[in-house]
């Protein structure tokens, strides 16, 4: 397996995939800076809650795009060079799928850690109220990673099965947009949409007063059944994706 992963590392060399992740993080940083720039001292007292509410919302659109781009970059190289037939003569097909998943996951982990660094960095610099909520931030990292890896494995499956990368890219974007929009719907509906789990696993809620237009953030209980469901989705998508990839004719 380590040889298969090392091959992925070599193939990704010079393809500037980290640059894509960095650009996405830069946009997220800009967004966070812009969102927090018009906050006064009272609002900053709830800065950690504000970020833990805003970032998952933005993730609905940012992380699926990172997943789609990374999966597409890692699979496109094989389609362009028609190298799947070569690879499958020397490595078990399941292992190719697993190696690509593991290497792709590193990028998703990098993006999630980047977000955490943005949050902690801005929180410390801008003196958000209270101590750093390490428990909630670790929870955020784990939940973001879990949802992102599930979306990534979905994207990888389609990107490896369909040579035309327009199809996975379009499906990924449509999924991301539906995920963002599903936040307006009840949780029952949200749990049916893979891309909306960033919202399902949010640890912060928001009260908005339509008269005063004031917002107030509060901690909310973690949706453990939701976490269980996304784990089930992950297992299912990985299994189905792998089976379809193994069975396809090269």
């Amino acid at each position: 397996m380590s040889a298969a992963i090392w091959m992925e590392v070599l193939k990704a060399k010079g393809r500037k995939i980290w640059l894509v992740v960095a650009i996405m993080m830069a946009v997220q940083l800009l967004w966070a800076g812009w969102a927090i720039s018009n906050k006064d001292a009272n609002d900053l007292a709830q800065g950690w809650l504000f970020f833990l509410y805003q970032f998952p919302m933005l993730n609905c659109i940012i992380m699926p795009v990172i997943a789609a781009v990374v999966a597409s970059r890692l699979s496109d190289v094989e389609h362009k060079g028609q190298t799947f037939k070569l690879l499958e003569t020397i490595i078990p097909t399941k292992r190719i799928f697993a190696a690509k998943f593991i290497w792709g996951s590193i990028y998703m982990l990098g993006a999630a850690l980047g977000q955490l660094a943005i949050m902690i960095g801005m929180g410390v610099v801008l003196h958000f109220g209270g101590p750093v909520p390490w428990g909630a931030l670790v929870g955020y990292l784990l939940f973001t990673l879990m949802v992102s890896l599930t979306i990534y494995v979905f994207q990888q499956g389609i990107s490896m099965l369909v040579a035309n990368q327009m199809v996975p890219m379009t499906l990924g974007l449509i999924g991301g947009f539906i995920g963002l929009f599903s936040m307006f719907f009840p949780q029952g509906f949200q749990k049916l949409v893979l891309w909306s789990y960033y919202g399902v696993l949010m640890q912060v809620g928001m009260n908005w007063d339509p008269i005063t237009r004031a917002t107030d953030f509060y901690w909310k209980a973690i949706d453990w059944p939701g976490l269980g469901l996304i784990l089930v989705f992950f297992g299912l998508i990985y299994g189905v994706g792998q089976i379809l990839f193994v069975r396809r004719e090269v």
Partner: protein
């Protein structure tokens, strides 16, 4: 020659799955916008004009830049595959016309998208029970939106020419759309190509005149488009192609 290059582009587009993105992506902001409008009727009192703000709110920042990014990536997809750049660049067609054929093809798709968005807007309004006449400014909003979209199309074609990947330029388009939202709110929309769609479609206040003035908008569109075309044509003329 340009006509023949354009015909070649049309042949390349035949049977492509582009219709999937063209038809489906604009439906999402239309649905989201109408849903938002119906849920906030107490605050959104300007009927068709309010519905327009809700439709364009999501479309201009997220969906249109992405959709145009997909169009542009698709237009260069075949050239980047196999060794097709060698074939394309040894054909007796001037490079300027090669690029212009792709640009015109992209522009056609942008115009068709605007028409589709206009139809979706009218259809959504009727479904939402709006009985007032359709705003007479609608064709103008769509036209100026198309002009902004054409600038983004020229930019995305330049990106898709340089970046030999389908997905990366589309990702950049989405980031550009989100950055456009922030820059527009700071008053720098005219200087950022991705924000021109929002400005052109009067997404923030359709009842008011354009925030930056029509002339300034048209000048910005012309400068950006010429700049991106010049860059792409120079790139194709000066750089050796990478194939495979």
């Amino acid at each position: 020659m340009l006509i023949r290059a354009l015909q070649a582009e049309m042949i390349k587009m035949r049977h492509s799955p582009m219709w999937l993105a063209f038809l489906l992506i604009p439906i999402i902001p239309a649905f989201m916008g109408t849903f938002n409008y119906l849920n906030n009727l107490s605050m959104l009192e300007n009927k068709w004009y309010s519905l327009w703000t809700q439709h364009t709110l999501f479309a201009c920042y997220f969906f249109l830049p992405v959709l145009i990014g997909i169009y542009a990536s698709y237009l260069f997809r075949l050239e980047h595959a196999n060794h097709n750049w060698n074939t394309v660049l040894t054909a007796p067609v001037p490079i300027t016309q090669l690029f212009m054929a792709k640009l015109i093809m992209g522009w056609l798709m942008v115009i068709l998208t605007q028409i589709w968005m206009g139809l979706l807007f009218i259809f959504s309004g009727l479904l939402a029970g709006l009985s007032d006449p359709i705003p007479p400014e609608l064709p103008l909003w769509l036209l100026f939106g198309a002009l902004g979209g054409m600038v983004v199309c020229a930019l995305q074609l330049s990106l898709s020419l340089v970046i030999r990947s389908f997905a990366v330029p589309v990702g950049i388009a989405l980031m550009g759309g989100i950055a456009g939202l922030a820059l527009l709110s700071q008053g720098y929309g005219l200087y950022f190509p991705y924000a021109l769609i929002t400005l052109g479609m009067r997404a923030n206040d359709p009842a008011a005149p354009m925030a930056v003035g029509e002339i300034a908008f048209l000048v910005a569109c012309a400068i950006f488009t010429s700049g991106f075309c010049l860059f792409a044509i120079t790139w194709l003329k000066r750089r050796d192609v990478v194939t495979g």
